[in-house]
């Protein structure tokens, strides 16, 4: 049902990591999932084509401004993720305009947050454009804190400040954060899913798994709720 764009014009915010973790976990849970790799570096396409993962996740690379709509129209999976480039581009804004939900990954840094603000403003403006032809059209979004300290580890004052600003600004965010985990780097090194990393001792794999499980649960619940709200209108 949902097309989910993962966007922050700041590079290195954790877009591809978030996309791959969510998409592979959903695929492993039995969903049909497709990732459109719209990052010119094609990190997820590389992961899929050069790796040995047996995941059912489908990855389509080479997404451009000109073929985005065509490729998206050809998909019939339950979940379609669009992994976007870390820059402000027409491809990014068009992807946002065509999405049902936008995830904005943000690290606890001033640069990340300012760039995320740019993405949020773009989402709101694209929503206004879409509402010219469909008054009920919404492009909901959530900020996702990434590379946060593992549970129990000290939280930086910058992160606390950022979290409080997000609350003050009424910016919707995921309750679950994506913690800084070695396993999340290892999935790109080994080109395997988190579940397939069993053989490779990479940090606390179980904690990484738990983190993703909680994030996917929250994502699914959020999408369900948004859908309920839309249907009730």
């Amino acid at each position: 049902m949902p097309v989910i764009a993962v966007s922050n014009p700041k590079g290195g915010a954790g877009k591809s990591t978030t996309t791959l973790l969510l998409a592979t976990y959903l695929a492993q849970s039995g969903a049909s999932v497709c990732v459109l790799d719209a990052d010119p570096n094609q990190p997820i396409m590389d992961w899929k084509t050069n790796g040995l993962s047996t995941t059912t996740l489908k990855v389509i690379g080479g997404i451009k401004e000109s073929n985005l709509m065509e490729v998206l129209d050809a998909q019939n999976d339950q979940f379609v993720f669009i992994d976007l480039e870390g820059t402000a581009s027409v491809l990014v804004s068009r992807s946002i305009a065509m999405s049902d939900f936008v995830i904005i990954p943000v690290q606890a840094s001033a640069v990340d947050v300012r760039q995320a603000g740019k993405a949020i403003r773009a989402v709101k403006d694209e929503e206004k454009v879409a509402q010219r032809s469909n008054l009920l059209r919404k492009i909901p979004y959530r900020v996702l804190m990434t590379r946060t300290p593992a549970p129990g580890a000290p939280v930086s004052s910058v992160q606390r400040q950022l979290e409080s600003e997000l609350v003050d600004a009424n910016v919707p965010r995921f309750r679950t954060s994506l913690a800084e985990r070695l396993a999340y780097k290892a999935i790109f090194v080994e080109r395997l899913t988190l579940a397939e990393l069993g053989e490779h001792k990479v940090g606390n794999l179980e904690a990484a798994y738990q983190n993703i499980h909680e994030l996917v649960e929250e994502l699914v619940e959020t999408l369900r709720e948004l859908n309920r709200n839309e249907v009730s209108k």
Binding site: S29, G30, M69, V90, S93, R94, H200, K201, E206
Partner: protein, 117 residues
């Protein structure tokens, strides 16, 4: 156990792998999107710095501009007009001028004439 990347980090407590399944019922396949006016979408995003980062097709200047008229010296005073526009509009406009072998101001004149302005 492989540790070829030296990524061992067991600083935090072990947590049991979650057994709970994610309930995915009710998520139907993605539906075809309603058509979207990309010119409007691009125009809304441009003020936030969302511009085209894709290289346009390589244009053979010699063949495309062949036959385009050289600018005639105008008989009246001239004014300067600089227009910033989204890439798709730019491509349409330049394509139009090329197709009719017009200068840009000639193309504007033709568009105005055709519109009865």
């Amino acid at each position: 156990m492989s540790n070829k990347f030296g990524l061992i980090d067991d600083a935090d407590e072990d947590v049991a792998r979650p057994e709970g399944k994610i309930d995915l019922s009710g998520f139907a396949p993605v539906q075809k999107r309603p058509p979207i006016d990309f010119a409007e979408v691009d125009a809304a995003a441009a003020p936030h710095g969302f511009v085209s980062r894709e290289a346009g097709p390589v244009v053979d200047e010699a063949s495309t501009t062949h036959g385009r008229r050289r600018r005639a010296v105008p008989a009246e005073p001239t004014r300067h007009l600089a227009v910033r526009m989204v890439q798709s509009q730019y491509d349409r406009f330049v394509g139009y001028a090329d197709r009719y072998k017009l200068t840009y101001h000639g193309a504007i004149t033709k568009l105005l004439d055709d519109a009865g302005e």
